[in-house]
Symmetry: C2
Subunit: 358 residues, 2 copies
């Protein structure tokens, strides 16, 4: 096979990571299965039911409805679709904070709904007052983010849910990335709160499952009926997905990872990566960068283009925020040694830029 997969030793840009060894093994074992065809592939279909129950444990709710999606994008699109389908307005709108993932723009285009994007607070979290101003009688969904893509921020979820409720809209929490750390990060709400309707939570991000393993949960199974195409009531959520054939490897890997790691392994990983993020924030500040204080294990810091490109040339896989900051996601494959090496390179390239008068 030509070319080699990406090594993870310099990957700081990805919200995905190396699957846990038990997850990798399970993925191989179940590679030739398809939970989209439960009559043929019964074992993996049963595993999926267990994964949904386990996702409920992680999210803090008993016995949710849900399924293992291709990823967070599908889960978010489906949440918008549920909300659109259950409402009678011909001009539905969805209100999201500016920090919401690109998948909501996709959802709006695909589903023919209006996307209303609200400005953030200075702390880069959703502005509840702005969200309320953007809502009206045609609002079918309000979205809050738990672990935003660019800054890892957690929105004021209960307050957003109150606004949704006031307008008769559903409340969706996009916890695609944050879902597996929220149980340990001290936030005071959970998906058990009656005001939350749907949640995206992806095993193939912080859950250490193999791609593809996203997750969509609903507190009320009846919400899935809004996705039924052929019949008024869904016999099985598998008909409701945006895909047909699905990856049993992803489902089995999620089952294996969560069985192994919930809750202690995930707790330990969160504490390790939060410590890494806090260390990195301090180290980058010491190196003279303007740092955005991390809330979850994600660090952003200002850097100029030349220095950024030099870091990429040195092999670091990094992303940039919309404000041209560098962005580092402290995923399970990230070690303190990697970050020390990274900071050393940052110090080198910023010194070089300064020396060049840049």
């Amino acid at each position: 096979m030509r070319g080699q997969p990406q090594d993870f030793d310099r990957v700081l840009s990805s919200m995905c990571t190396e699957p846990h060894p038990v997850a990798r093994e399970a993925a191989g074992e179940f590679l030739a299965t398809n939970p989209g065809d439960p009559a043929t592939y019964q074992t993996v279909s049963d595993l999926e039911d267990e994964v949904v129950a386990m996702l409920g444990e992680v999210a803090g709710v008993d016995d949710p409805a849900g399924y293992v999606a291709s990823g967070g994008t599908e889960a978010n699109i489906q949440a918008v679709r549920m909300a659109r389908n259950r409402c009678v307005t011909h001009t539905p709108n969805v209100v999201v904070p500016e920090s919401a993932h690109f998948s909501f723009k996709k959802a709006a285009d695909v589903l023919g709904v209006e996307l209303r994007v609200t400005p953030l607070r200075d702390d880069r979290r959703a502005n509840v007052g702005a969200v309320e101003r953007f809502c009206d009688e045609d609002t079918v969904l309000v979205v809050g983010v738990a672990g935003s893509t660019e800054y890892g921020r957690v929105d004021p979820i209960p307050e957003l849910a109150a606004v949704a409720s006031e307008y008769g809209a559903l409340m969706h929490v996009d916890a695609a990335w944050g879902g597996f750390v929220l149980p340990f990060s001290g936030h005071e709400w959970s998906f058990a709160d009656a005001s939350l309707d749907t949640m995206t939570i992806d095993p193939h991000k912080m859950g250490q499952a193999a791609i593809p393993a996203g997750g969509l949960l609903a507190r009320d199974p009846a919400l899935f009926d809004a996705l039924a195409v052929d019949t008024p009531y869904l016999e099985s959520t598998s008909q409701a997905t945006l895909t047909g054939t699905r990856s049993g490897a992803g489902v089995a890997s999620a089952h294996a990872a969560m069985t192994e790691l919930w809750p202690d392994g995930y707790r330990e990983e969160y504490e390790r990566q939060q410590a890494n993020a806090d260390w990195l924030a301090d180290a980058l500040a010491d190196a003279g960068l303007d740092v955005v204080e991390p809330e979850l294990p994600l660090v952003a810091a200002s850097i100029d283009d030349v220095a950024f490109e030099s870091l990429r040339d040195a092999g670091w896989r990094l992303s940039r925020t919309g404000n041209d900051e560098l962005r580092v996601v402290c995923m399970p494959h990230v070690t303190r040694e990697m970050l020390e090496s990274f900071v050393a390179d940052v110090e080198t390239v910023t010194a070089t830029v300064a020396a060049d008068g840049g």
Copy 2:
């Protein structure tokens, strides 16, 4: 891990199969990669470009635009979305034969288009005259199936394309299952024909790749611009997908399988399975069933409920058509020995039913 994956030794119901060994190996190697993030995972992103080119070879066209989708359902939804987005009508409709896959119903619900389902000819292929009668100035897409789900029929594609052209609609060929056998089955058209616009062709079906590896091709790259959400022109088809994070394992497995098997391996497999299907059709007819003559390696035959359930109880994974026939898909894991064993069981259960006066 609780439970075992489904063995393939009695699976006759699935349009998926065991991945080829080189595909399995490549899937493991590239498990921790995400072609939806080409800046981080560059190698697998390059592999995807090569897979699209290879799919073009299989389909008979040089240098198509396209990408490796989560599966045929996503590819079909996206073909409808392209057609909807490029047309100005507020009441778009899509005309499909009754044999079209369920994914077109999903597409219609998701995308807010009207689905017009046309009756088939007696030979279970699309009725071109009926399709023409259902078209009007709001028709944005006509669909023909190359390897239908229930009977493995190939529609009169060039004639359907002429109707599409007459109405200014795009022409989509759903070759999700049939795409990898059409080069050998003697059909006289190919995707190189200028009248065909988009095609679904899934490596994870007859292509022997691992799930998830579907395929969407377009002869004209400009059609993908209709899927651009943020910008007028797509820089990369990866933005256009219905997912975000994607499986590098699927992409790499498709690359490995196609490199290994195109064209001779696929030709040999087609010939073997067509022979199996023809043998099975004769054997079932000898056993007294009314058999639908196979066109491609898929056999349907009438059977009553009791006999069907007995076969399932014996461990055979079988599907039924909408007319309650049993349906057997001769995929690469199917052997003559399996079919002989199956026919023996059919003879047993039908004799039992006859003896019981059923």
